[in-house]
Every structure is written in structure tokens, then in C-alpha cells.
Amino acid sequence: MVSKDCVAMILAGGQGSRLGALTKNVAKPAVPFGGKYRIIDFPLSNCVHSGIDTVGVLTQYQPLELNRYIGNGNPWDLDRSHGGVYVLPPYQSAKTEEWYKGTANAIYQNLSFLEGFNPENVLILSGDHIYKMHYGEMLKAHKESGAAATIAVMPVPWEEASRFGIMNVDDNGVITEFEEKPANPKSNLASMGIYIFRYDMLKKYLEDDERNPESANDFGKNIIPTMLADGEKMVTYRFEGYWKDVGTIHSLWEANMDLIDDPPKFDLGDRRWSIYSRNMALAPHYVGEHAKITKSTVTEGCYIDGEINHSVIFGGVELGEGSVITDSVVMPGAKIGRNVIIERTVIGSEAVIGDGAKIGVDKSDDNKYASKLCTNDLVLIEGGANVSVGENIYKGSMVEA
């Protein structure tokens, strides 16, 4: 059997309930991001650029769209004869039938998939982070250290450290203690949810964990603390660069805005590390006589005849004459009429906005669409929703389809 040096497993089963209507019908990793991508494009592209050609994508919640999007993996160069990308949903077997109970259980249920590639190491990733990272460098450090597991960490501001899983390390980067959301953090190195395990260790600890009925079957809560308690050598790998968890409407919006700042906080234009995505086969975008586009990104298939300022516009979007969009994200195929005003809004795929509508401009205490998920005065229009001609949608609204 040809064995693989490293196989990646992407945890893509989460619902992402804090994204509200954006994840009503799709899993979080399938949510559009950055003009022409989906969140899952980032870990997938990182894998390919890092020389990892075998990737399992563990799905559970609303997998259809994600399955269809990943397809045979061709857009990421992952249509391989030996290896490639596999979508791994939970399944029935003779003895058991169960959903993925936790992150560790999801990998445990797919140990037989991993066995098939006889890997030396397994890279565990989550499907909801935006970043560019060379996993190959991390793998090299992991092998050199001889550790049972390597955990990617990044320094976070001290005042925010209590929101993260914090790693306390010695001078050599060896982990001495792991604290989940500590009230008084001793370190500001936050776990990024990116782990490399030696496969033999991973298998042993997953099997042990499965036998423990008390366990929540979670990497952060169970596997890593147990390994530390057993005295296994675990080291950190420091990552410096852009990394963002896009788990909320505000953080997703903010991460999109990070692309269009000048200079951008996160640059997708580097062709040595292109983010791959499934192509929609659309024509170049057309910019009309009445258009004015500044500090924004626009992509294929759009028809723009209005004004766009500091916004991210996805493929196939139509914007009518006299409309003005500011500080917003407009997802694929949305149709926006004439004389519409949109501010600080995330518009879902294929939404239709009638002429003269006003979104995210005014504030009202009597707002039938008010949602506590839409923080920071943001507005979310669900994919496929209709906003009627002349309708006024107040700040902090979530309009469902």
C-alpha cells in the first residue's frame, strides 16, 4: 500500500447557528466569502498549496450544497487517483448508527477511512476559518520535534485571551497546560483549532476516548487534556498572520471588509497562494454608464449601473441605476433594483430587492425584523428573500425568506 505522509480532515459538520439565516439551508463552510469563494475554499486551497493531496471533509448539517460544491475536487486539483477529496457524512454500520457526537467522535467514526491511506500524521482542520497557512511548514516542525501532537497557536490581544482556548508553554514551545476560556489567562497564545497528530497516537486516544461514556468526544475538551495528563509531548506551532473565525454575522461581515481596506488586512491577490474555488462560468462583469465603483471588489457575471462604495460584490449580482451600496456584502445572484440605498448589510444569495428600498439606514425601536444575531447595527437579508418596493428595513434586522 502506498502510504501518505499526512492526510487532512476538515471538520465541516457544524451548523453555525450564530450566522442566523445564512446557514438555514447550508452548512457554515459552504457560506460565500470574499466575492467568489466559500469558507471551505480556504482550508482546501491551503492543503493543496501545502502539498497535502488527501483530504476528508466531515459533513453532517445540511450537507447537500457542500457536497455539490466540492464535487470531484477538480477546482482544487483534488481529483486524484490515489487520494483527493472525500466527503464523509456519518453512516450506519452493522453495530452502530449515530450522528457525529463531537469533533473527536467524527474522526473516530472515520478511522477506517484513514486506515486506507496508512498515514504517518493526520492534520485536523476546521471548516470555518479564513486564513492562508502553509501546513507543510507546520508538519515539518511537528516531525522535527518528535511530538505526539502539534497545535497551531497565534498570539491574541491579552484582553481577548479569555475568549479562546489558551496554551501555556515552556521556553521550547512545549505545552504545559491547556485552559479553555480562562478567566485569568497566563498566556496569550490561542489555539487555532489546527492540530497535527501522529496517527498512532491519534488512533489510541480516540479509541480510549470512545470507551469513556463521560466524554464529550471533543478535541479541545477531552483528547488534548487527556494527552497532556498522560505526559505526551505536545508542542505549539506559532502562526503569525491573518486568521479569522467567521462564526458570527458581524465577524463574517468584518472579514469581508478586511479585504477592501487600503492596504487590505487580508490580500487575496497573491497568485503564488491563489485561493481556488468552483467556477460559475460567468462572463466578465459589466459596468454601466451610471456606475461609480470605489474601494470595492466586483467579480464575474455582475451588471452594475449604480454606485458601490467599500463593499464586496459576488458573482452575477445586478444593481440598478440610482442605487447606492455602502459597507456591505452582496452574495451571488442577488438582484437589486433602482434607487435602493443599502448600508452595512449582508445580502444573501439570489435575494431580490425592490426599487426604492432602504436597508440599514434608519433606526427604529419598533422593528418587526429585529434580531439579536445582527449586532453592531448590521442587517442580514436571507438568501432568496424579497424586499418589497420602497420598503424600509431598519438597522439590526434579519429578513428571512
Partner: protein, 372 residues
């Protein structure tokens, strides 16, 4: 039925210097992110044709790099799929390709091996979006030997018409006369250089013509056999342009600024596919001013762009003004440059403050990689 049809594309070498110096005409970039051949290839793929041969004459490396495995057209198949067929030196009559019969004779093995009954033979370099399924259906219904697609150009200038293979049709749409690029055209029905026939007929034509030293499929086969063969016309009523000169090339690109042309050619029911480059969306800077333009991905625009077509990865820096121009991939237009009526091949760079002005009837055309 459509699985019973194969496609043959004879790539064209009409000269549009300097942009065709480095590539076959069919590989010319057009409409921003496309190549000319994308249109006919997508038309065939959209009709469910899964065995397509692309015969090349010379300068075909750019074409091969573009088409590769054929996966954008879903033509990377286990059985058949897309075949790029370089010229066969042995089959050339006088050591060089004299005409399309030589090209066809060179790929005779491929034609013979193909199990399909019908063949769509496309010469030329037209852009159009057609339902080939309907063409084949009409071909079979009419019991024609050969069906050729034409467009009615009533009202066009005589000089315009002389670029085409002109057909004379009777009331039953049977072709009764053919004139290839006549100086004084008798009719205004212009052939689009697409022929549908049974594969066996094509094979016998190739065989007969090469045995006699004939070199042209239209002049030597169809014209001479016009009484014996039942050649019928199929009228295509949509938009089409033949890209055989700089003037036509410029005009066709500018046509993409018209909504009705875009809506027709990029009909979502019959998409035009092309090789993807995975470039990030186009970025507009704080001072960008873009009007009536067709813009591909990966561009960075900080200046002014009006009435223009930009390919992927073009940079227009602050203070630069681009008007009525076609700018191909990765060209860089530096600060305060002024351009009007220019056609830039790939990777042209115009340094700060320069001015280049062409005319609509004579656009200024700059070769790949030129530094100005």
C-alpha cells in the same frame, strides 16, 4: 442522436498582426476572459457532443495551453472527449499545408476511428451562441447531404460581404451557388463556415480531394459538386462576428458593451466555458472611475476606464485614462497614462505619463510584452 455526432474544429490562421504572430487566430483572447475557440467548443459541448477534434496548423502551443484536457467544457472523458491534433507532416501535399483538405487528410485516422455517424465541421473563427442540436435535427429532417449555417447580411456593405463564403439559395433553401470571398457578391447570405454531414461523406470528400491534389474543402469539393450534392442552408438569426481582421476583432470586442449582445452570447441555458485562472475579484480603488466597460477578474483599477474591455489581471494606476480600448491579460497602465483606441496584447506595460492614441478605423495594436 447528439451522441451520434462528432465535432471537428479547423483552427484558423487569419493574420491579425501582431496579435496572431504568437498564436493561432482561434486562440486569440476576446471579450475579456475568453478565447475565440471557446464559443464553438462550448456550442458543441452544450449540444452534448463528446468527441471533438481540434486540428491545428501552426502556432498551436497557446491553443494547447488553453484547451489542455478539455475539463472546462466537461470534455475530459474516458471515451473520446477533446483531442488536439497537431498537423501531420506526411500528409501535406507539398511539404506545407496548402488548404483545409491537407489538415483534414492529416487527421484522417482520428476521423476514421470515431464511431459517430454525423460530423459538424467548423472552419473559421466566428463567435456566436447556437443550438447545434437543432441544426443536426434539421439536417436529418431535410435529408440534406450537407447543411451549412449562414447569416443574412442584407444591408451590409459590399466590402464587408467579400470577407465571407457567399451562398445563393433557392426557395427551398438549397444552396445553388457558392462563391468564396467574391469581390462583387451576388447575394447577402454569408456562410459561417460550419458544415454538418455524415462522417462517411466527409471521409470520401477528403479522400477524393487529396487523391487529386485538391486543397480546399469549399472550392474544390462543395463548389464542384454543387449539382450532385444536396447542400442546404440553415439560417442563424443571432449575433455572429467573424474575427478575421483587426477591424472586425476590435468591433466584436466593443459589441460586448451592448446588453443585447451579452445577453445572447452569455445565455445561461447555453453557457460559454473557458479555462479558469482562479484570480481574485477585481479591486476598485478610491479614485476609480469606470463606465460602460467589460471587466474580467484579477484587475486592479485605480484610474479611469471608459468604453473598454479588460482581460484578467490588468492594472490601471492612478490618474491613467483608458478609453475605447481592448487590454489583454496582465498589462500594466501606469500613472497618468492616456490611451484611446488601442489593442494591447498580454503583458504590455506603458510607463508613467505616456500617451497612445489610435483611431476607431485603425486601432493601435501593440505586441505581447512590449514596454513603452
Amino acid at each position: 442522436m447528439r451522441r451520434e455526432t462528432m465535432g471537428i474544429i479547423l483552427t484558423n490562421n487569419d493574420r491579425i498582426p501582431p496579435i496572431t504572430d504568437i498564436r493561432a487566430n482561434s486562440a486569440l483572447p476576446v471579450a475579456g476572459r475568453y478565447r475565440i475557440i471557446d464559443f464553438v467548443l462550448s456550442n458543441m459541448a452544450n449540444a452534448g457532443i463528446t468527441n471533438i477534434g481540434v486540428a491545428t496548423e501552426s502556432n498551436y502551443s497557446s491553443l494547447m495551453d488553453h484547451i489542455r484536457s478539455g475539463s472546462p467544457w466537461d470534455l475530459d472523458r474516458k471515451n473520446w472527449g477533446l483531442n488536439i491534433l497537431p498537423p501531420s507532416l506526411e500528409k501535406m501535399t507539398y511539404g506545407a499545408i496548402k488548404g483545409n483538405i491537407d489538415m483534414l487528410a492529416g487527421i484522417q485516422d482520428f476521423i476514421q476511428r470515431s464511431p459517430q455517424t454525423y460530423v459538424i465541421l467548423s472552419l473559421g473563427n466566428n463567435i456566436y451562441n447556437i443550438d447545434f442540436d437543432d441544426v443536426i435535427e434539421k439536417h436529418i429532417e431535410s435529408q440534406a447531404d450537407v447543411t451549412t449555417i449562414y447569416t443574412d447580411m442584407t444591408g451590409a456593405d459590399e466590402r464587408e460581404l467579400s470577407r465571407f463564403t457567399m451562398l445563393e439559395l433557392n426557395d427551398d433553401k438549397r444552396v445553388v451557388d457558392i462563391e468564396v470571398q467574391p469581390y462583387y457578391p451576388k447575394t447577402s447570405t454569408a456562410g459561417m463556415d460550419v458544415y454538418v454531414m455524415e462522417k462517411a461523406l466527409l471521409e470520401s470528400i477528403i479522400d477524393e480531394c487529396s487523391a487529386r491534389g485538391d486543397s480546399d474543402f469549399v472550392k474544390d469539393a462543395l463548389v464542384k459538386k454543387i449539382d450532385g450534392l444536396h447542400i442546404y442552408g440553415y439560417e442563424f438569426k443571432g449575433y455572429t462576428e467573424k474575427l478575421d481582421s483587426l477591424k472586425a476583432y476590435y468591433r466584436a470586442n466593443m459589441d460586448f458593451l451592448k446588453k443585447e449582445v451579452r445577453d445572447e452570447l452569455f445565455n445561461p441555458a447555453r453557457p460559454i466555458y473557458t479555462k479558469t485562472k482562479d484570480q481574485s475579484p477585481t479591486k476598485y480603488g478610491a479614485e476609480a472611475d469606470v463606465k460602460n466597460s467589460f471587466v474580467s477578474d484579477g484587475c486592479v483599477i485605480e484610474g479611469t476606464v471608459i468604453n473598454s474591455v479588460l482581460s484578467r489581471g490588468v492594472k490601471v494606476m492612478k490618474g491613467a485614462v483608458v478609453k475605447n480600448s481592448i487590454i489583454m491579460q496582465d498589462s500594466v497602465i501606469e500613472e497618468n497614462v492616456e490611451l484611446s483606441h488601442v489593442v494591447f496584447d498580454k503583458e504590455v506595460c506603458v510607463t508613467k505619463g505616456r500617451k497612445l492614441i489610435g483611431q476607431e478605423s485603425y486601432p493601435l495594436c501593440i505586441a505581447k510584452g512590449t514596454q513603452i
